[in-house]
Symmetry: C2
Subunit: 405 residues, 2 copies
């Protein structure tokens, strides 16, 4: 298990694919009667241009990409980032720079001038404003841009970007498949490293190291949750709690290979599980089967949600649906969580090429009590929608809880 | 080198410290004639409340914290995050929730109601709008909040938060000191793992793993840059380029322990360096010495910048100041890069308790050419400002380039 071979790169996404994404963006802008799209966030920027740098962690300097309805896109980046554009985003050769940080004008006037030059027909430009978007620039500067651009209007462009991004290309699927494989291997190897008396922190640290050694490039999301007979949350980082007999342990990770994410978890039990706990794990595993059978092109996200929710409700025994979670899965790609959602209200039509997680969960009273405090069991697999149904990208978990410790 | 001992936790930051941060925020709101502060970003949220979860990687669900000028703060989080508040942010017991995702109202109405109830005197509330801020919610929702709140005005609250955050508490310094020590150890051990023929990707992967094994909790920023006689950029991720004789290699990392970041780099040369390259490394090392002597309470950030820039200009030989970088260091803390900046224009007064990086760099023509293409050498150390000057938190690099391979 040498990092060198495990991290062996995939063929790069060709410049032609980035150019085709930009062309499709321009068609959608035309259809929406919008003159240009301003992009600021890491995932959308990378999707359209290939721009790839750890520098997004540094919030001092924003980066802008403008795609016009008619004409050539351009980038506005701090002068020290021009070399990153040259190296990772060669399909967009027009790079405009300023010396940053400059709080008085951190690229704003260059962007406004560029948008104005394009916004001559519909007098509308789009930016990342909609649900689940993050405009990755100071909002004070955005409000200033808005005033400077008036009467040109700024409308949402995030939905348009999502409609492009939801269906993945073969090169994108290859990356998601790779990270799903790496993390499946790490989950399979984990029982050998787990032991009673070990802390959540130590288990989480071991897991991060192991995923990187197997070739993951980034491990920003590692949740570790454990408690007797079921855990309390699925969104918490590891703490100092140590494992003991009867604990149910869950690790969940959003890890990435070449920018693309998996998002799935695995459950382990310390010592022989109670019949009830065994049953709850089988239940969420079986609900995943229901989801796997319901996913196909033409179905809606809410239909698959309902199929899994109905199954959970019908077979829950002492358990109940975790209404507070709000959904039972979602999209994955350049983000660990991206639209659409397997929720009651998301009517997005499923299409071949989408990459999604199925994430059924069940809550139940703390074993041996009838109090309000609850425990949870969640199970998650990542899938690719095919022409006829779906393919599991993760290595399917066993139906019966793996026993460790 | 067991992850268990290396990752041994520091005493938690006590609830009293979070309460005192909130109290100081309230005083600053009073002085600024602002009724309440809305906080949405990971670093500010954690600073005020302790809220700690990997869930910030998931952009589906926003999280809100409201601190009033008079009264008690409250949190607005998705229902599934209430348990995170209970566990990590107990100093703010008022937690209001909604079922997310709900694009029609993802917490917006609860936040607006809460802000309205407080904004009775000055009719002004503050949010993260200013330079270097990131409002961590959909901006479409923010614009809707703005309309719903009118005539209550929204002003910038990021400067106020920065004025609190710039001077670190002993508990914060302990965390930065810990990560600086962990990463210094990893840099010192790195030469044994470097070899000619190895790729930047493999070296970067090894370095991430080693930092985690030594106890770093997060390694989101690892830049690796190498080229003959000097590298081309300091902000790029590792690529497939393999090391050979005459290469200058730089690794730079923003890594974290318990939420707090270091940010520094180290240089290594493959085989015997040219006299010119040796000189450039000594120059940026010496310029750091100039910075170390110039930093003291009462000096301004621009004064220290000027001292380092003047020294570099006076001793540069064939080199020249990298104007495009815009600064020669900055603050560190809950972000890898936070204000203030060692720049020509930043007049912030240095105070005891600030944690900063000194990061002098020099550019020069590609060795053996007079063309426009340039190479770079950068050197960086992290410091704590003391009552009389400063203390180095990193293990000072050697003045002479370490030879490897």
């Amino acid at each position: 298990m040498d990092a060198g071979s495990a991290a062996s790169p995939l063929p790069p996404i060709p410049a032609a694919e980035y150019k085709s994404r930009v062309e499709r963006t321009k068609e959608l802008l035309e259809a929406a009667r919008v003159d240009a799209l301003l992009v600021t966030s890491e995932d959308n920027y990378r999707y359209l241009t290939g721009f790839d740098s750890p520098t997004w962690v540094n919030l001092t300097r924003p980066r802008y990409c403008v795609v016009p309805r008619v004409g050539e896109p351009f980038l506005v980046v701090p002068a020290n980032a021009a070399i990153i554009c040259e190296r990772t985003a060669p399909s967009v050769p027009d790079v405009r720079t300023w010396i940053a940080p400059n709080p008085a004008d951190d690229g704003v006037s260059i962007v406004v001038d560029g948008l104005r030059a394009f916004a001559t027909k519909h007098k509308r430009v789009a930016a990342e404003l909609g649900a689940e978007s993050r405009l990755t620039m100071p909002v004070g500067d955005f409000l200033r841009m808005k005033e400077m651009l008036a009467p040109i209007e700024i409308v949402d462009g995030f939905k348009l970007l999502l409609s492009l991004r939801m269906v993945k290309s073969p090169a994108e699927v290859a990356r998601i498949r790779r990270i799903c494989g790496i993390v499946s291997d790490a989950f399979d190897a984990l029982p050998d490293a787990l032991r009673a008396g070990q802390s959540e922190l130590d288990a989480g640290q071991h897991f991060k190291v192991d995923m990187l050694r197997r070739g993951a490039h980034a491990v920003p999301y590692v949740c570790v949750s454990s408690d007797r007979g079921g855990y309390r949350s699925i969104n918490v980082g590891p703490c100092e709690r140590t494992f003991g007999a009867g604990d149910l342990l869950m690790l969940d990770t959003g890890s990435a290979f070449d920018g693309y994410y998996c998002d799935f978890n695995r459950n382990y039990v310390f010592g022989r599980p109670s019949g009830e706990l065994t049953g709850f794990h089988q239940l969420v595993w079986d609900a995943t089967e229901v989801g796997l059978r319901a996913v196909r092109p033409g179905a809606r996200m809410c239909d698959v949600y309902q199929a899994m929710a109905d199954y959970l409700a019908a077979h829950a025994g002492k358990g109940y649906l975790r209404a507070k979670q709000g959904r039972l899965g979602h999209g994955i790609g350049l983000r660990m969580c991206e639209p659409p959602s397997f929720s009651r209200i998301d009517e997005t039509e499923i299409r071949a090429g989408m990459t999604l997680t199925l994430e059924p969960s069940i809550a139940f009273p703390v074993p041996g009590t009838n109090g309000p405090e609850e425990r949870v069991v969640v199970h998650e697999e990542d899938i690719l929608v095919t022409e006829t149904g779906c393919e599991i990208l993760t290595r399917r978990a066993p139906r019966d809880l793996p026993v460790v410790g």
